[in-house]
Symmetry: C2
Subunit: 273 residues, 2 copies
């Protein structure tokens, strides 16, 4: 029984509702974020808060409570959760609209969720992804528009693909819900524009800087052929190796040694967090 | 006090809610439609039903009740409304998702709404619009993603603009919530691709066919300079003249005689409906 914060109250998530004239529901005008705990502690909360408030500013929405208040409610929700670790889904919508188009006082929700279980084999053997031409509307905003990957769900399932890698104008940006990296030799490269700035991406870059040359720059679609290794980073995916993109095998088609090192460094980081 | 249909029940719209794990709310995976009455009768219901079911099919969602059942509930809602005329907002979402990404049994809602009041002067003097580079993700689907016009709301207000005209790759498509037409001499031209096929557009084309040469084809951004008249059509906008696009005055900057004829023909059509 998970609880949630909804506009000032802590209630059972299963009993929480929004009215039909919420602008997130009527017009998709809504943003979210997704933070998790490690060892029962919120992971890098200041990074997540920074991103949440940045998304809100870019959409012209005001988060109704401040960072300190949010982190207070997070601690309350952890206490209520009875879980060793959990995730928090923040949702900030355009509010209850009187004319179904005008933004009003935002609705703000923090939902406690069970962490999804990741298949351990994937971290060992890597995953396959498909590519698709797409660019999110406001890439730096974690908006709720996920029409693209939901429409691709059947194709991904039939191709046994883990996720979809977006590209547009021959430039790679990100996966549907995580960031993208390649290794060319000892150089780690990750797109720097048209992406959501992932928190795991940020931590991995900090860890990688001590071991590899790091380049944040455009990766062209063609450059994938030159990649020795590839992986994606995300809050629940951590460092997830990618060994195939469409029909292209990356490197030897198995998890490379550099990706393994980053997995180990990240696992150590969260173990000691 | 307007009523709504929500998953099989008729209840007060102000008391209707959806749970937080609705996929329309969490992931913007949702479509809608908007039908109105004239003289207390649903306007062209078969056209609206066709479009609603087409949107649903393109998004892989099944409308839980059939057309006959929908029209039965519409009559019930009209009876409960106590309004001479009203509008119905249909909303079909990806349902309550267990993992916040997978589509389940759709939630289906029909909300009775008061018709927005249109300023009569606009029909007489025409409106100004701004243009913006944009292409909706699935143009033939009336999806709920309206991030673009909501983000532009401040700019539109400051420029006294009525709406925004979308173009991409130098091709004009539509306004944020209505279709676009120009007259060049006695030829009526309207975009045929990358648009939502409006019901008022369809009726106006049927009426115009008897008086003008009609071309459904691409209109380039540059071609606007050659337009003698312009207007937009929509369920609540009917035939709304456009006399200025950004800094460009259309024709003489006043409502042209051909647009006036179409306004009269449409007004006659709805008067006798």
């Amino acid at each position: 029984m998970n609880y949630c914060y909804l506009n000032g109250e802590l209630i059972l998530a299963s009993q929480a509702t929004l009215k039909l004239n919420d602008l997130g529901l009527l017009r998709g005008f809504s943003l979210f974020d997704y933070m998790r705990t490690y060892n029962g502690k919120p992971f890098m909360p200041q990074y997540y808060m920074e991103r949440l408030f940045n998304s809100a500013a870019l959409m012209g929405l005001e988060v109704p409570i401040n960072e300190t208040e949010i982190l207070y409610y997070i601690e309350e929700l952890i206490g209520l959760s009875n879980l060793p670790d959990c995730a928090f889904r923040f949702l900030l919508t355009g509010g209850y609209s009187l004319d179904s188009m005008s933004v009003t006082e935002p609705n703000f929700v923090i939902i406690t969720e069970n962490l999804p279980l990741e298949v351990p084999e994937r971290f060992e053997k890597g995953v396959k992804v498909i590519s698709s031409e797409h660019l999110r509307e406001l890439p730096e905003v974690k908006s709720t528009n996920y029409m693209k990957p939901i429409l691709l769900a059947k194709e991904m399932k039939s191709k046994n693909a883990y996720d979809v890698l977006y590209h547009k104008y021959n430039e790679i940006s990100e996966l549907s819900r995580s960031n993208f990296f390649i290794f060319k030799g000892d150089t780690l490269i990750t797109p720097s524009t048209n992406i959501l700035r992932g928190i795991t991406r940020r931590v991995v870059l900090e860890l990688a800087n001590q071991h590899f040359k790091v380049e944040e720059r455009i990766i062209s679609l063609d450059e994938l052929r030159e990649a020795d290794e590839a992986f994606t980073t995300g809050t629940t995916k951590k460092v997830m190796p990618i060994v195939q993109i469409d029909e292209l095998q990356i490197g030897k088609g198995e998890v490379g040694s550099r990706t393994r090192l980053l997995q180990q460094l990240f696992d150590q980081f969260i173990e000691n967090y």
